[in-house]
């Protein structure tokens, strides 16, 4: 632990009020930090999960520039994930139960990620892709006659959870339960979503439901293998190592959060952006198949669904002129990194032809780079292909209802309208 006493930055991004602002309002604050103090020392944030701020807790280094986010992500020899990666402090028990490879360092991370990756064979990925396109088609077809729907529940939320459920092999009758539990996992600090339960209970309930359902499927697949991801995870073996049931359940819980909410939020933010920038929508529609691979990167840069992840320094490190000491917390602000003027021309513009090789929406590269990035891009391509083909004039209507979170750039509700199909 560091003993250094430092003054907190005058620009305070730990204030809960800061996280209640809209993404655009927050960006104005980040732009000041990027320009003037790209690595700033901030006071600790209070975690509704574990109660008030611990008086002994130090602050954290806020890393807001694109290139510094990449450095922190790549230098896993300096910046550890094993002591937790969420902005808010999570009990180690929760990390163990719910975050799998996200909160591991090498060599354990290397071993478990390798085992999990080994189950995503080209044959399995192509199976999953076919399934995603079918699901996207059905979701859009199912609303086509309505003309006016709440987009998040009718479209955005449906595809990722459906994909995960099919991929893993969750029985039909358990899917609603899994969906609700997964939602609790990311919304425990949003009063409305967590239904007045105290945050830790809400989260623990969500985790325990997911573990229970997952263990049933593990037991079933062990007894009688099927052609799904969970069977592959149960059978996976690399260099004589295999995954324990605890590891599989933790990965499933991670998948329900990381593989679910991210794509959901990006879908909603993208519909808003396509509404706000009709020229970009026309540009994409003119040659969807030729332009979507580049465009989808702009979707994720624009949405930056994961706003923050942290690390803990293992050794002293100089970053943007500041000295980070061993034990210091470092938090990366991806939305800020994706609006960095030094990495993107006119980052404030939604530009589907943009060169997006620098975006950090899937993380700043390195061994923790998003395992599901390919899957996420496939889902986004599929859903927007269907939306723009089946409902060519679909647009977001009115203001969204934002999720209160320091972690997920979330939209809870967004109305959309389109010409209803016969």
């Amino acid at each position: 632990m560091t003993a250094t006493k430092r003054d907190y930055d005058t620009v305070d991004i730990s204030d809960p009020a800061f996280w209640e602002k809209t993404p655009d309002e927050r960006e104005r604050v980040f732009s000041v930090l990027r320009r003037e103090r790209p690595v700033s020392w901030q006071r600790p944030i209070s975690s509704p999960l574990m109660g008030e701020v611990n008086e002994n807790e130090a602050g954290y280094w806020a890393v807001v520039r694109n290139e510094d986010i990449v450095t922190v992500s790549r230098r896993t020899d300096v910046f550890s994930s094993a002591r937790g990666v969420t902005f808010e402090d999570m009990p180690s028990e929760v990390l163990e139960m719910a975050s799998s490879i996200l909160t591991m360092d090498a060599p354990r991370h290397t071993k478990v990620r390798k085992l999990i990756s080994s189950t995503f064979t080209p044959k399995r990925i192509s199976l999953i892709e076919d399934q995603i396109y079918r699901q996207a088609h059905e979701i859009v077809r199912g609303i086509a006659h309505l003309g006016d729907v709440e987009f998040v529940s009718a479209v955005s939320a449906r595809l990722p959870m459906w994909t995960i459920s099919e991929m893993i092999g969750i029985p039909e009758e358990k899917r609603e339960e899994v969906r609700e539990a997964a939602n609790l996992m990311i919304s425990w600090d949003d009063d409305e979503v967590s239904d007045a339960l105290d945050p830790a209970t809400a989260m623990l309930n969500g985790i325990s439901t997911l573990h229970g359902v997952c263990q049933d499927v593990i037991d079933a697949r062990r007894a009688s293998p099927e052609n799904d991801l969970l069977t592959a995870l149960v059978q996976a073996e690399v260099d004589g190592a295999s995954l324990t049931d605890d590891e599989i359940r933790s990965f499933f819980t991670l998948l329900c959060v990381a593989g679910n909410d991210t794509t959901k939020q990006t879908t909603t933010h993208t519909l808003r952006a396509l509404t706000e920038y009709p020229d970009q929508r026309r540009y994409l529609a003119e040659d969807f198949d030729g332009r979507i691979d580049t465009a989808v990167l702009e979707f994720v840069r624009w949405a930056s669904p994961v706003m923050t992840f942290g690390r803990t320094a293992l050794k002293r490190f100089e970053l943007a002129g500041r000295t980070i000491e061993p034990g210091d917390r470092v938090v990366m602000f991806y939305a800020s990194g994706n609006q960095d003027e030094t990495a993107f021309d006119s980052p404030e513009r939604f530009d589907l032809s943009r060169d997006n090789r620098n975006h950090v929406a899937f993380g700043g590269r390195g061994p923790h780079y998003c395992l599901g990035s390919h899957l996420a891009k496939t889902q986004l391509k599929a859903i927007f292909s269907e939306l723009l083909t089946q409902l060519p004039d679909i647009r977001a209507e009115g203001e969204p209802e934002y999720l209160a979170s320091t972690f997920i750039n979330g939209i809870k509700k967004q109305r959309c309208v389109f010409t209803a199909q016969e």
């Binding site: 999960l49 574990m50 109660g51 009990p91 180690s92 028990e93 929760v94 139960m97 105290d198 945050p199 830790a200 209970t201 989260m203 623990l204 309930n205 985790i207 325990s208 439901t209 997911l210 573990h211 229970g212 359902v213 263990q215 605890d246 359940r249």
Partner: protein, 136 residues
């Protein structure tokens, strides 16, 4: 799963692990720092144990039936398995083998400390020649 036969056995071994924990120079102060009381209701056979961490006291039987910050209810078998690291907290909750009352946040603070005590619990069973209670 091997289990306890009597209330006295539960008090001896589950109460015993908390005694050892509070005496431990590393874990003891961390438990006291939580400032919490934990009550555990056991079934098959029935027993109640309440631990007041800051007060460093372990109550059993009638004395233990008091309000606490967190309350855990489980069978004696589940408790024996838990202290040997053989029971997953979320899975036991999902399967209804363990229910939580009071503050889950407090319990989550305790859980990592409990992990450090698994080997201590197993050695305690070994020292008392209770190999029948050890889960392979």
């Amino acid at each position: 799963m091997p289990g306890f036969a009597t209330t006295e056995e539960i008090n001896k071994y589950i109460g015993g692990i908390f005694e050892k924990a509070l005496d431990d120079t590393d874990i003891g102060p961390r438990l006291m720092a939580t400032g919490m009381t934990l009550r555990m209701n056991f079934s098959d056979p029935e027993a109640v144990i309440t631990v007041d961490f800051p007060g460093q006291s372990i109550l059993t039987g009638e004395d233990a039936i008091v309000d606490a910050d967190a309350i855990l209810s489980m069978s004696a078998d589940t408790a024996n398995g838990y202290w040997q690291g053989k029971v997953s907290l979320p899975l036991a909750m999902a399967k209804g083998k363990l229910t939580i009352g009071g503050s889950a946040a407090e319990l989550l603070k305790l859980a990592p400390l409990a992990k450090d005590l698994h080997p201590v619990y197993i050695s305690m069973l070994e020292e008392n020649d209770r190999h029948d209670l050890i889960i392979a």
